[in-house]
Symmetry: C2
Subunit: 380 residues, 2 copies
């Protein structure tokens, strides 16, 4: 099995891109990654996307994007695992290179959500939950996260405002990222004034959806010995329904996938210099920190309160703004995370640069923890 | 790169399964494939599906099906390439085994279409076409195929009734397949009485949608030296829009993918004993025969008229009924085709058995030819 390297990064700023179609968003990111790599011809394309079939009435994005990218004919397909779609596209791209089949593979995550009114988007998003056992009761996806957050507060004795450091860190970091949707730091007072979306999830505990696309170009590592290396890549799954889990406060699929990714890379939590966590909600960031071995059970929020998640802290997270400030174009997010980790490893993160980054962890979560894709990237 | 063998086949009869949910359809096929293989634990699951996000309001089918299949935790994801979704899931399953990552991989295709009224299904299906350049004009997916068929008739001088042998062969073969939706042979008179759906596509030139699931269990060939071998596996793409193709009557992605699959297997058209063609419409069967090298340009229909496509003919197609009689649960179809080819190679096709099958070709088409997945399977 061949090792895989990342030789190109392409990003579209996360915005409400009313004037750009889904295909053009994908093409812009893909072309930027190819230009960054100096590659003009790819062998295969994997597109991560969650909602285009319903929101954009467009399926078969693999072939469509390949064509408009000037790569008509190449193998292409779309991967879907709710908000874990782009991480899944990366994973398949890695398998395609590792298998020996292909030498230049593009993974693109893309989502275009501003085309339809709010209600349709909410319906599309709750498709990430179990339709017959969760969504049927009328709960929204934010509502499900509110239930988990409430339970966490109850079990471990926290208040809603204890989660403030996650939002403060993300927005401070997002201010340095030109591709971020929100580029303004917030204070604790701003957080505390945040209106409730679904109690106890406030506006500042939830990430904003948006339109965007991110792409990475993958090649066999022997062809790019100095490029950022994929040191670990793993996917694990869990029940869609939260009530089916032994412990609703434990991301089992995060633990399972990170354990495999750490083992592949020969590293542990102490070796990770930064962590692009899936902070779709503050509570998800806390649970991820715990499942990945950075904090004990119930201590993820404490870790944030101790400022260990800030730049310069023990385990910086959301270093380019995270889902919270960079924005969360759902099926594209996993590749934004991986692209940002790659920029950090290359020293190309600009004002958001974390010093001395050698090993980075990126974790992409589908649903409330049902599909979790974990990658360890390393600078050579 | 490791060779891959097929050790388990699982099929659900194609029907209007009003009483069975999409997850249960997938689980039934998956479990049957695992039982057939004598395998109790899989390493990864790839689910092919086209419309569940909109029709069933359920996304993230990979994790969901893994859980209900008793395989909670394994790597899983959904692949979508319109009607080429299940072929794509097979392709990814092959890459996962070939890469060396996994030793027991399940590919499941599933579609559950009878849950919503007709209009929604038509909208979901036209997502296979280009939303901005084709669907926006109000054309349906059947309508697009009617345009291609009309052009074919014009260019090569055929009448609508010249296409009759495709339907007659498919329905005769489907009568022998217990998993087929329609199990009744038809006469030429029946074909000629077929009402027009979208002229010149009559009821008997179009395949029926339905609910169904099909699964294959894949392992490294060295672990199953006597099992059916995946000798060739390739995907190629083309424009979604028919008007963007140099020749609307040539399936370039079929030619590209079959050429690669033939080369991998070290075979050519003369070595193929049966061909599970994507006969979603009679015209697609004709174009596939031409692109795969069984007939000259414009001679696909002639080949059918000469009965070369019938059992005992030079190149039997739709040997278990094809999409036409077995039924076309869109995102599941690619795995029905591969499962049927496997049964034929094992000598397990019952009354539909073709004698002396050593090498089989299966081709799964997304859209009107935008994603084409081609596999060559061989008996050892």
């Amino acid at each position: 099995m061949r090792q895989v390297a990342i030789v190109g990064v392409g990003l579209v700023p996360v915005r409400e891109h009313w004037e750009i179609s889904i295909r053009d968003l994908a093409v812009e990111a893909g072309r930027a990654a190819m230009e960054d790599a100096g590659v003009e011809k790819i062998d295969a394309l994997y597109v991560g996307n969650m909602t285009s079939g319903s929101i954009n009435q467009q399926r078969q994005l693999g072939a469509l994007v390949a064509d408009f990218l000037g790569q008509r004919g190449v193998e292409a397909v779309r991967m879907e695992a709710a908000c874990g779609s782009a991480g899944s596209a990366m994973r398949q791209g890695i398998l395609a290179v590792a298998s020996g089949d292909y030498d230049a593979v593009l993974a693109i995550g893309v989502e275009k959500m501003t085309e339809t009114p709010g209600a349709d988007t909410t319906t599309a998003l709750v498709g990430a939950a179990d339709a017959e056992y969760e969504a049927i009761h009328g709960v929204s996806f934010v509502g499900l996260n509110a239930l988990i957050m409430r339970r966490y507060m109850h079990e471990y004795g926290y208040q809603q405002q204890d989660f403030a450091p996650f939002a403060i860190n993300a927005h401070a970091n997002g201010a340095h990222n030109p591709y971020a949707m929100f580029r303004k730091a917030i204070t604790r007072e701003t957080y505390e004034r945040g209106r409730m979306v679904s109690e106890p999830v406030s506006l500042f505990d939830a990430s904003p959806i948006g339109d965007g696309a991110a792409a990475l170009l993958l090649v066999p590592a022997e062809k790019a010995p100095r490029a950022v290396r994929v040191a670990g890549s793993a996917v694990a799954t869990d029940t869609l329904s939260i009530h089916d889990r032994k412990d609703p406060l434990w991301l089992q699929a995060a633990e399972d996938s990170v354990r495999r990714a750490y083992a592949q890379a020969g590293v542990g939590p102490d070796d990770i210099d930064l962590f692009e966590a899936h902070d779709a909600f503050s509570i998800m960031a806390a649970l991820s920190l715990e499942a990945c071995g950075f904090a004990e059970r119930g201590q993820g929020v404490r870790l944030a309160q101790e400022e260990a998640i800030m730049p310069g802290g023990r385990i910086p997270i959301s270093t380019m703004g995270g889902l919270k400030a960079r924005g969360h174009p759902v099926g594209a997010t996993g590749l934004y995370q991986l692209a940002e980790a790659t920029l950090q490893l290359r020293g190309d993160a600009g004002d958001a640069q974390i010093d001395g980054v050698r090993t980075a962890l990126a974790q992409n979560i589908g649903g409330s923890g049902a599909t979790i894709v974990t990658h360890v990237l390393q600078r050579q």
